[in-house]
């Protein structure tokens, strides 16, 4: 369970969600580590997961304290795999291992009681009855969380300890140093006898506990799965997420995303006093092109879409009011990849490597390809051809592709075109104050929503306009304007 590599999120938004999950127990963390996106063939099991998640969300919406009790149990849960390994290997286990197993069994019994009483009755989670383990480790009538090798385990142990007690009080009372030394030697002898007998008791306890190892392991795994499920539900409730509608990968029906939110970006905006404009878009089977003004939020829109698709495939509810998607075999994000550049690749080299990966993925199944400003790093005349080729390639691939681009004149038969609505009021005066303030006013007047275009698109020429608003150096602007045709100036 510890050798498995952690899932590496495709989108930064998913990495943010996973990092913020409320998971405390080592079993929950193991379940999170084992998390992998569902593929097209896993449709039935992912649907089952959503049925269960919806059930938990329903319960949690009725009861604001719903997560409190299991949460406090998960906080105290320790990983006992090592102790169980020793038990299974037939080793004589020590007192700390027995305390560990007892603590685990008590907490799991608590968790089972809570779960049974909650009425959740999920088909994937059915804790094994382990009351007998608690009874073995708690021979007393009163249930205590501590552990000791109780006198009740062995008559001989009881006798040895009684004799030890007598000797120790005799030592305390003895005035004669010679006699006291003698008594001390006797005590040492009896301490050894006690140790030997304790060791037999531990061996016997191990023998009685061994048949329970599989059930204890199973309960640990189930606790982890339950914790992950509750963590998913907690996010869904906190952010009013919606259950995705899943379609078979080969349905060719469009992906429909209404009012998507990117919680990471929304939180950053909120801290500056701004709101996040929900994104709505529909992706056809084939290629969808997205254009829009600079600073119009194309990248955020793409990342938000990819994040939600990835979340759905990981069994999470999504940050949207409605989200219908085919269950993809892959989600591929081609966006500015700082990591490749850091590893010494040129930006174009990095893009070509990602392209090679994408073409291989497309041949392996139906997926979602999200490409932000593809071929931005080469010259525009060649870049345009690269984008045209990618669009055509995706159009016939059977996958779902979206390409955000600044290049004019891309024409792909059957492709859908979307555009950022853009600046609300082009003639408004934005000047005054420093550039950051102007930038802020500009953002406030940007309509980040996406609109579907009826025919082919035309790339909006907003760059000159925005540079003018931002009061870039006049000499530079004069040179720049010289290169625009008169009607664009």
């Amino acid at each position: 369970m510890h050798r498995q590599k952690k899932y590496r999120a495709v989108t930064p938004g998913v990495a943010w969600v996973l990092a913020g999950l409320q998971i405390d127990s080592p079993y929950g963390l193991a379940a999170l580590k084992a998390l992998r996106p569902a593929r097209a063939k896993d449709l039935a099991s992912l649907e089952q997961n959503f049925v269960e998640l919806a059930r938990v969300v329903g319960f949690a919406e009725q009861d604001c304290e719903f997560f409190a009790r299991p949460g406090s149990i998960f906080k105290h849960l320790r990983y006992i795999g090592g102790s169980l390994d020793n038990l299974e290997a037939g080793l004589v286990i020590d007192e700390t291992e027995l305390l560990e197993i007892k603590g685990f069994s008590l907490l799991l019994t608590d968790l089972k009681h809570w779960y049974d009483a909650s009425g959740l009755s999920l088909s994937s989670i059915d804790f094994a009855e382990i009351d007998a383990v608690v009874k073995i480790l708690n021979p007393d009538k009163t249930l205590v969380a501590s552990f000791h090798l109780h006198d009740a385990y062995s008559e001989r142990l009881k006798e040895i300890r009684a004799a030890r007690k007598l000797l120790e009080s005799a030592i305390l009372q003895c005035q004669d140093s010679h006699r006291r030394e003698e008594l001390r030697r006797e005590r040492l002898e009896i301490v050894h006898q006690e140790r030997d007998e304790e060791s037999s008791v531990r061996a016997e306890l191990g023998h009685r506990l061994r048949p329970w190892v599989a059930k204890l392991r199973l309960n640990g795994e189930l606790a982890g799965q339950l914790e992950l499920l509750l963590a998913r539900a907690r996010i869904a409730v906190e952010h009013s997420c919606c259950r995705p509608e899943l379609l078979p990968a080969d349905c060719r029906v469009s992906l429909l995303a209404e009012n998507m939110i990117n919680p990471e970006v929304a939180e950053a905006l909120l801290s500056k006093g701004h709101g996040f404009t929900p994104v709505t878009i529909e992706l056809i089977n084939g290629t969808t092109l997205l254009t829009g003004a600079n600073m119009g939020g194309k990248t955020v829109a793409l990342l938000t879409l990819a994040m939600n698709a990835e979340l759905a495939s990981l069994g999470f509810f999504v940050f949207a009011s409605r989200f219908r998607m085919p269950l993809f075999d892959f989600i591929c994000l081609m966006a500015g990849d700082a990591q490749n550049q850091a590893s010494g690749l040129s930006s174009f080299g990095a893009e070509i490597i990602r392209l090679t990966e994408l073409t291989a993925l497309v041949r392996s199944g139906v997926g979602l390809a999200v490409c932000d400003e593809f071929a931005r790093s080469t010259n525009p005349s060649e870049g345009r051809r690269f984008v045209q080729a990618l669009g055509e390639f995706l159009q016939r691939s059977g996958s779902y592709g979206i390409i955000a681009t600044h290049y004019d004149g891309i024409k792909i038969a059957g492709a859908a075109c979307w555009q950022v609505v853009g600046l609300k009021n082009r003639s408004q005066h934005y000047g005054g104050g420093d550039q950051n303030e102007v930038l802020g006013r500009l953002c406030a007047n940007m309509d980040y929503r996406l609109k579907k275009l009826a025919g082919d698109y035309e790339v909006p020429k907003e760059a000159l306009h925005i540079a003018t608003i931002l009061e870039v150096d006049p000499e530079f602007m004069a040179i720049l304007r010289g290169y625009y045709p008169p009607e664009d100036k």
């Binding site: 320790r78 007192e95 305390l99 000791h148 030890r164």
Partner: protein, 342 residues
Amino acid sequence: MGRSLAECVDNCRCVAIIGMEKNAGKTTVLNYLLGRRLPLIHAITSIGYDGEDTDQVTGTDKPAIYVGCGTLVATASGLLGACDFTRELLRFTDFHTPMGEVVILRALSDGYAQIAGPSTTVQMSALVEMLHRAGAERVYIDGAAARKSTAALSTSDACILATGASFSHNIEETVEQTRHYVELLTLPRFEPGLPAGVPTDNINDCLIFSGDGTLVNSCSALDDQCAELIAARNGESTCVMVRGAFTQRLAQRLLDKCRQLGWLRLVGEDGTRLLISASQKSEMMRRGCNLQVLNRVNLCAVTVNPVSPAGLVFDSGDLCRRLARTISLPVFDVLAGQQMFV
């Protein structure tokens, strides 16, 4: 004849026993205190690892800690095999030492204990709190040798200092250094305390305030530039707070630069962080420096071990009387009939 050592810590919930040096008799004092069959639930833990049969530094035989039935013990799981009392395991603590995680036990019989506890202040405070919650009415912390006892001192509400022949072969030197150390530990408290909102990073641990309490500079107390920054205030009322170590080097540079120190109030985090020599301390005070601490240690007694590991034996009565004359605290030799010298 006045109070006994046990009476000196009568109302304390957490008592740290620290030594001037190794073999200063900390364990003997602990055993004496644990051996008082008081109607109190005792608990014991240690800063790091102590309680081994042979002192790992000097190779001499050491007394083992002997706990009574009912005592709570916080020690590393790897040392359970070396503890010979019958026990109940109460809980894990999540504090890990090189000898395993610290667990809390309750002794169900008398017996010898090997104790290793956490060594950071944060963990020690949390552990003491756990012991209290587990029912301990008084917690003893077996502290380390003097300079390394910060964690014990900042957690406890009372402290016993063990000193003796192991510190120096010269009885006068032992008495003098003990007096110096007692003075550092019991320097008066800086009453206003740490001003709110001052930076508390570990690098810039020396904070320089003007007379009206404005932070004018901060730097690392280990940086040679530190003395310059302090000396630059020469003549203007200044309060310097050192949250890390105030070293002999820094003290000497300051003495070299300033003939008068009447303008300076020097506040250490606690006495253990002031690593200055006795002569530096008296010279600084002679020049008018006002030495204070943020946390004053409630030092309630000094104990002596007249025997050094090298075989040197001081006259116990003589050592106790000399100490009692120089410091205003009760002095005990717990092996010599627990008498008190004041």
